[in-house]
Amino acid sequence: MTAPIRIDAGVPKFFAELPPRLERAILMLRQLEAEGVHFAPIRHHSPTCAQAVASLIAEAAPTTVLIEGPEEYTSLIGELARPETIPPVAILSTAGDSVAHNGFFPLAEFSPEWVALRAGVLANAKVAFIDESWSERKTDPSDDPQQQQLTRTIQAERYLAHSRVLHELARREHCRDHDELWDQLFELRDLVDFPASRTLLDEVFVWSALARLEYETPVLVSEGSITREARMAARIQEYREDAKGPIVVVTGAFHTLALVEALTMAAEGAIVREAVPSGGYQKPADGTGVAWLIRFDNARLDSLSGYGAGMPSPGYYGRVWTAPTGFDPTRDVLLDVAHAVRAANTTDVLGIADVTSAMTSATRLAELRGRPKIGRTDVLDAIRSSFTKGEADSSPALRDALQLVFVGNKLGQVPPDTAAPPVVAEARARAIQAKLTVSDSTTRSASLDLRRKPAHRSPSRYLSLMEFLGTGFATRVGGPDLISGRGLGRLFEDWSYAWTPLVEARLIELSSFGTTLNEIALARIIDVEQSLGQSANSRSASIAVNLLAQAATIGLSEHLPRLTSLVDDVLDADPSLASVVQAALRLLGLWNSKDELEFEDTGSLSQLLDHSVGSIAFLVPSLATTEEARDDEAAELIVELRSLMLRLSEQAGISAGPIERELERVRVDARTSPSVHGALVALAALDGKMEDSQLSDLLLSRLGAGADVERSVRFLVGFMRAAPDLLVRDPIVFTAIEDGVGGLTSDAFLSYLPDLRRAFSWLKPLETAALAERIAGGRAIELTMVRTDLSASDLQEGIALQRALSAELSSDGLAEWAGGDQ
């Protein structure tokens, strides 16, 4: 049977001349259609392609719908077709033992694959996936190993982003990237009827085929495209032989050319045909145990698109998809962005006038760019023009609003009785491997000696991981904790653990975040990582180091380099000295435990320590302007800083020269806050950096007669906080402080008494006793301690009242009433 072949339909307008190979391919497409095989070349997550697929299925009325996707997914079609399954969902493949072998196959409501699947099931057609099974696929060597675990997608489309032809075309059309070009050429069309859909699909075919022609055969072989296409072609052929009616084949447009050439026996298709094993393929594998239907969300859908899999901005395209025919969602998008900005309650106020102006801009931009409708980049550009008043990207509220509207926060659903992913089994297996008892739910304890027994390190990592994930399985009850920084000197780690049904429930809940325990942990870490980048205030170095420590403790060793570089970045951005000092102390803790943690890249750790020196030195001058309310914090920080400096050179062999230099600068600066000055002087005296005479002069000038009492007391408090024992050991200090305190008027003494008390409370009991003896000079003084509910201010008020009363009485000549010695 031969049907008339039309060549005019489907030659894209934007290419005057097609390469002859593509002209022939279009003829073959027509020929296959005449034989009842309708190809739908698509781009993943393109609403327009989805619409064209729906239109094709309605027109062709197929009895079989074949979809590109690992063939073992066919067994999940029942689950996918259930009404409880609401996109975004994903199928996750967990073939193989290595985590690198996991992948996601996400489906949005506007994904052509999803539309084909639902429409096929509705029409009672046989629906099947036809691609090579995930476990047989080659790992793509071009994948970035750091991104692999979370973002591996089964729908790779990198070839579009890398195509030179498309890049040149984008440049010529003044588009910023191939996504904008795609919108301009395809996404903005109105598919009024089936011929319009057919034309669109043909043009998508040509567009992708142009990118494909840039590839050399060896590359296609090595990245595994040819074997996949061989499988798909063979499966299409099998279904063709059984089919009782037309077949619709939905594949990524990149593969359509190869499939068409293979099926029509074209010479160029030989390589694909020859890749089919001589005996053909076995029956498709069953997906049970290797493919799982899970919930997905827009944020992850969008992040996958960043790695070359389909279109970005699922929130925006979701709106385009659900908008009624002929309705432009631009105004709603603009209103929602403006609303979200207003809701953030910042100073950025956007009114109706701004929305109107953005709407006009968007319309005119689309006109200028020759587009039939307003596209995504037109809306984004209009927002940029009309909603920003000042430097670009200066409004966090606008950025968040764009994230909310363009990415969205939609969360998909799967039927409640869907099979649970394999994390549960993994958690059990790892527990058994760690020689922990999980056969009952009794609470047990484990004591691990990490330093001396390397065999204890892996169980420790597992227990830490389970604790970090909040599974309720394990609790650390004692021992060194690198994350909180407590108990760092201890040798033994003590744990209690119990495998309860609640642990299993929690693991199933967590499985939507990843396929393995490590992946889920990573998702959490990445969450915190991202919040670290959100705003200048949230860039805390100590949080970043905690993340690094966390990842090291739970054994995410392959992610340590990334976290190390995160710490490196944040160290510079953190505006808080306290946080950076904390970070440096934790880093030192990590450095000291590097053997237990089996930290491989110790070089970068020491580089980080080195770097923290520079960051601390930069922030030290901020100490000079400490307010009174933060005196204690500052003094404490200085003490920590000194111990850090000593430990840095002792334990890691790193010089803290720049910090020392800055501290010195703050110390000699006359404007430095008195308590900080006190603390720094004390430490300088302790380290022998000041001559006795210098110290005594300085103390006399600070505490002696005529000094501002408030400043003297703050100085003293800082001094005592940093080095209380100097008072006992150093006679110069003793004399200076005794003179200073002795020189206070009794009013001043009383009003500053609480502060003075606090200053002396840093002495150890023995030192207090020694000091008391020295002051009393052998005179016997009996001290009684009385506990009352009175507060310090009560006491102060009482004393003041008492003094006022006795003054009043003595002015009346009644001093003896007051019991004063007149």
């Binding site: 003044h174 588009c175 910023r176 006038a353 102006s357 006009t360 801009s361 005119r364 931009l365 006109e367 200028l368 760019r369 020759g370 980049t377 550009d381 209009a382 940029r384 023009s385 009309s386 920003t388 008043k389 000042g390 430097e391 670009a392 570089s565 490196d568 970045d569 510079d572 951005a573 080195d610 770097h611 020196v613 520079g614 960051s615 030195a617 930069f618 001058p621 720049p658 230099r661």
Partner: protein, 369 residues
Amino acid sequence: MVETQPLSEIRPPAERRYATELVALQKADAANGALVPPGWTLSPRAVRAFILGDAAIGVSQKFYGNDPLVDRAIVTLLGRQGLMLIGEPGTAKSMLSELLSAAISGNSGLTVQGTAGTTEDHIRYSWNYALLLAEGPTERALVPSPVYQGLSRGQVVRFEEITRCAPEIQDTLVSILSEKQLIVPEFGEGSRVAARPGFNLIATANIRDRGVNEMSAALKRRFNFETVHPISDRAFEVRLVEQQLSSELGEHRGEITFDRNIIELLVTAFAELRTGITAEGTPVKSPETVMSTAEAVNVAYAAALDARYLGNGNVTPKEIARQLAGVALKDNPEDAKRLRFYVDNVVRERARRDPLWKQFFSAASEFWN
């Protein structure tokens, strides 16, 4: 109309430099039947082609790196809002504003140069006092400002460095931009110049520079903002500095040895301090002083003279460090801290591997600490 005047000026305006291209675009518009907005000399697409180039009709590309920005700018000028181009010095803001007004109105000369001394008269109008005394307030006696001319002719007006004007002077524009008219009370009650189609305003501003004024919210609301970013290609910047340096040095050129590696070091340090990110991707603290390409040329020039008159004619990282301290540390003490941070981290690290950076490090430690 083809300009016949010989190009004897140092720098003729864009509409004269590119007269042939503008004519070609007008012809193309006529041939395509393109819709030209009222008051414009070209269609919006032709304006875009003028700036971004159209090889088919022999129009060169004049602005690189951000096509969508040009689209947005053109669309803004079609509407009621003015266009505000902001960014650091040396980012081709003025060039873009000149090209836009040349393409849209065929005239890039209606320009107000904002300074601290700009008065309302420069924005509205002033009088020829001899005529004013002789004839009273007549049209002949009135000296129109560029804004006045733009309004009455329906052309694009450029306002350079708007933030250098005092805020109350800037605000003169608020009523002009919102009501699109200028009242001239001297001509009698109700006398006004109404804006003809084609009138709009392109302002350029530095918002990070010192000595600039804040814009009022009312004024900001009447503009759409576009941020123009500095040159991001380091190799291109090195070439640019080298060229400008050699033209500044003039006849001294032969007496001074200025190694290319040292220019690279200088440009690298400038670019890193300006962007706040090193070539390796580590963030550093950016000083408030503008670290523009033009400043880099200044430092290079000063270092060259330093080497010529105080040294042996050989520019080393030592001279660069000395001049960088002087030029970059203008008046903000915070900047000194930021530069020390840069030295403590980035330079210290590089000094271990690279002898040039090592020299720079030791000189910088000496001068900056």
